[in-house]
Symmetry: D3
Subunit: 238 residues, 6 copies
């Protein structure tokens, strides 16, 4: 039995609110139950130094958590003068995941920064961030096309992500904090709309996991991402 | 004529949403028109080293802006490894302002941190942060009383803040970004419910301002803060 | 009764020593009683990146305190790797104050840095720094004119600053450390030679201050700055 | 055809040299072909603050690359004052992997630090580091038992790691730099001696990978780790 | 011929002004010609963590240059967030030199910090700093004895320092900036009152120096330090 | 009697292994007994900003110690975000020493970085680093000549370094850690093949040293460096 009463293969209610803030080229509030992440896509007409004059653009991500997004307050990283290892690991994952969906040559010599800021955390913030950032990125690309800055969208695929894990011996989909902090295994899976894998990161928290457990988690992930892909499409159709 | 069509002494619509996030002891979204700041109050059962065993508590504030809260993206301070001078100046102001309302001995040996994070900026973020933080602080103190950790609220007064300035030669109340960026003088005023001044910070941006202009701005500020005090009370009465 | 025996509207002895060190374009030791600040103006033939090729110059300030300028030793900021919030707040104030006196286009594409280093502190270091920096800035501008680098001085006004406050219930001028550490209200006022206000920063340390108290402090400040303006002129006439 | 002429399921020559340096409790040079990593295990009789007086120990890892371990020189992280995101990601992986093999209560209130310094890089440094660190950790634990500081080894399993990937459309084992920089998919797999998975991290570099490709890579990884487990045992039997 | 017209073995005018600032336990302005360094000795009733409860004290030094102590402005180290290599090298030298004169057990569990801040630089700042710091340290120790905190002075010897070098092929004493920037060899020598060497640091700037040149420089240094020892004694006798 | 049983003027066994790693233009493992330092020379086709377009090159050094190169583990400087004072002092010494052997104009507009990383420490790491770096630098210069990038080697002399000191009242050559930690005086001497001095750094650890002791140490240093010069030549002749 899951703490939330959900079935093992049941997602939390997922909500994508586009145009959540007014300045960014793409701005999406993504909610997976009580997890709330604001994802903005900012377009800048310049690329990092090592990409200059190569005819290609860049997509990168930054991740942050408001100090009181969690049950007890975390130090503000800006005040400590340093991002935590966990933060760096997560933002690198988000960046890699989204770049997998973009034709960087078609983007042209510009940079898109995806800022993922967790307003409220209840497990699964990194996969929510990837799922929401994709929608923000679509909005930003549509704007570039609309403004005539690029002829066609540089997006080559659709990206969503979900966490799966083994909780109390049972493979479950979309772990909330109560599950995540007790899970024996925790796995984050990033996929595209064609059921292709972009990134798989699984960690045994308690004991090592077996091939069959891994297969069961992959099944759940495919099932969950398929739903997220539809939720993204519905949001983008509005 | 103001860009927004407001009268010189007219506030933007102000909204205070309590319990905006679920983990903090106090959590308030404050909106002054398009300016949106999330203010959380976190209670910690410890004080800074220089206050240990003195029977007194501490109230402090931290301020941040999401990278794309503004028209063009600002570097993330956590990634740059350093808070900007402007950030430090603002969070010191917020902390001083709120401490003016608190009996630190009545608070006991605990620390309250007010985190003010700007989700969307359109001028006046620091005064909005003070106004919203006060409400978050009340909620946190009420909880401490309710939990029996302190016998009575350590709050000794009510605090609100507003910006005033001289725009196109006319003293105006509550400047938005369009006005702020063009204003000849910009002044932030923190007051209590008894019309006492907690902090006054006025800066000539263009030419020096005269005593009579200063007096006119002070009048506007008193007028504006009086309304904010009522709006806070209404929000806290819910 | 003031600890120093001064009358409420009495300045400490103020001394401005020009050419205090030999390398800087302007170098002034400013003394307000026991407060001693070395202010140097350095001219650099380049502007910050965001001002390049705009035909305008820049004036900025940096503030520091020698570790043992005060009663007990403070950590050296260079060794800690970080400027304190107080330092940043002060140097931003000094920079804004002095820029208010300069026609940045007439200055041309160059930068003037005002370094204000406190050799000995006894209250009022920031207002002393502004008052002394103005004289150093005049010397630097005169040199630029003399060397033929600019045709006329870019200075558009004269700037001086003083602290006022409420000590033991009485408004007083030019607080020393003994008063400052006990004051109920502390206000720093920057003005020009035409009695215009450049910056006003007042903080209630104990209880909130009233409009009439504020007016009394403003009177004192006008009275004090008028004297400082004359002292600066006398120093510059030598 | 692989650049090195190896078969798809063929490891590079792997060498483990124990007691490579003289001061550390465990010190192992691990070589996978031209990749050379020095892994030391240092035992400290103290734990991080958050673990004090809990009767448990801690195992952590730090990773570094000598500036010229690679084809072109990288900035020294100590001189830049910051570890790269890649470094942080890798050392977190190594730490998690090794902790999975340790009964932290049996270790007692002490900390083991695994320092993995790459002397020469040719792909697969993180999996080599895990494989070598395990041997260094065994040596350190044996010493603790021998010195009578703990009664039995806190090691609960054997850990090794290998990279797999898809190169030119073919799943291959143990990628060297020439392959890694061209691979379509790159996956690092950490396993124990019982074929249990500790960590799986797979990233699509070019196009998304399919379930069947993932399965093929997992097979190769199992095959490779099984050999590494034997090589570790042989080294430890000396 | 030296730029200053001095003879090869001639010191610049040396001046030691005690009680230059009012807060420090020792405060000395040392001048070697145009080189002016403010040396303060601060006594703190605590020792660094690694010395706690060992019955011994510590003496350390910090060095800084005001940004415009030199011909062109140097970045403020506090603003850059980092001390330069040169600064660190110098302050380590000063600390070692002064510790050589102190019986750390007789000092008791307290720390003396010698802050050496260059107000104006014209070569030889580090040796001036050592020579002036010694006098500040004597004043601080005398105060400790006078206050009854220690029974006898912990000073075991007298320390002074001078630079020597080879300029235009001739060994010279006490190089000023004009000489220093052109010198073929530059050597800093720290000695005690018994002609014993505390530290010798010689660097060939142009070509390597010979044993006989080294001997000639050592002679000059002995000659110069002997005079400085007398100047210190005269200053301390006032 | 020395702890190692060596005679006062006896070097430890010295070994220079060229081509120790495969990527660098020069790569030498230098061993002085148990002290092992990896010295790599990296050629970069660019110079620091302040040298651009001046027709000259640059040679610089960086020094590091693996965390467990010593008896107890030192914090990793990259993780602490700061190089220690000792590290900075040493790498500045190495850089100055090697630059003394190079005609920077003949090197052309390129930079050689000498990375000296201590794998195992037993005293004398800085002098070993200088001695080994010279050989790595020769290899890098030979490669530049061979590749036709410069016509002749920019090396103008041969550089080696050794430590000398006073141990138990006796001047000794090449101190190991057991001696170094007990020595009364410690001196590092850098010389060239013509017995010229490049750098001399002597520090009294216990009592001040006399002229005759200094002379005795210089004799030992000359004796030691003469042998190192031959060992370098033999290594380079292979």
């Amino acid at each position: 039995m899951r703490p939330s009463g959900r079935k093992p293969d049941e997602l939390r209610p997922v909500r994508l609110t586009r145009h959540y803030t007014c300045h960014a080229e793409g701005s999406v509030l993504v909610e997976f139950g009580n997890t709330k992440v604001l994802c903005t896509a900012s377009v800048e007409e310049r690329v990092p130094p090592w990409l200059r004059n190569k005819g290609r653009g860049w997509v990168t991500a930054e991740y942050g958590m408001l100090p009181r997004a969690t049950g007890s307050r975390n130090d503000r990283e800006a005040a400590r003068g340093k991002q935590q290892g966990r933060t760096i690991e997560i933002q690198r994952l988000i960046g890699r995941a989204l770049r997998a969906a973009v034709d960087l040559e078609a983007l042209g010599e510009r940079r898109v920064v995806l800022d993922c800021d967790v307003l409220q955390a209840d497990g699964g913030t990194r996969t929510a961030a990837i799922t929401g950032s994709y929608v923000a990125l679509v909005d930003a690309c549509r704007l570039l096309v609309k403004q005539g800055q690029i002829r066609r969208s540089p997006l080559m695929g659709q990206i969503a992500a979900i966490s799966v894990g083994i909780y109390n011996g049972t493979p479950v989909l979309d772990l909330d904090y109560a599950e995540d902090s007790e899970a024996e295994t925790d796995m984050n899976v990033v996929m595209n709309e064609a059921r292709g894998f972009i990134e798989v990161q699984g960690t045994a928290e308690g004991h090592a996991f077996r091939r069959d457990e891994m297969n069961a988690m992959m099944e759940l992930a495919e099932h969950g991402v398929a739903q997220l892909i539809e939720i993204q499409q519905a949001a983008l159709a509005d």
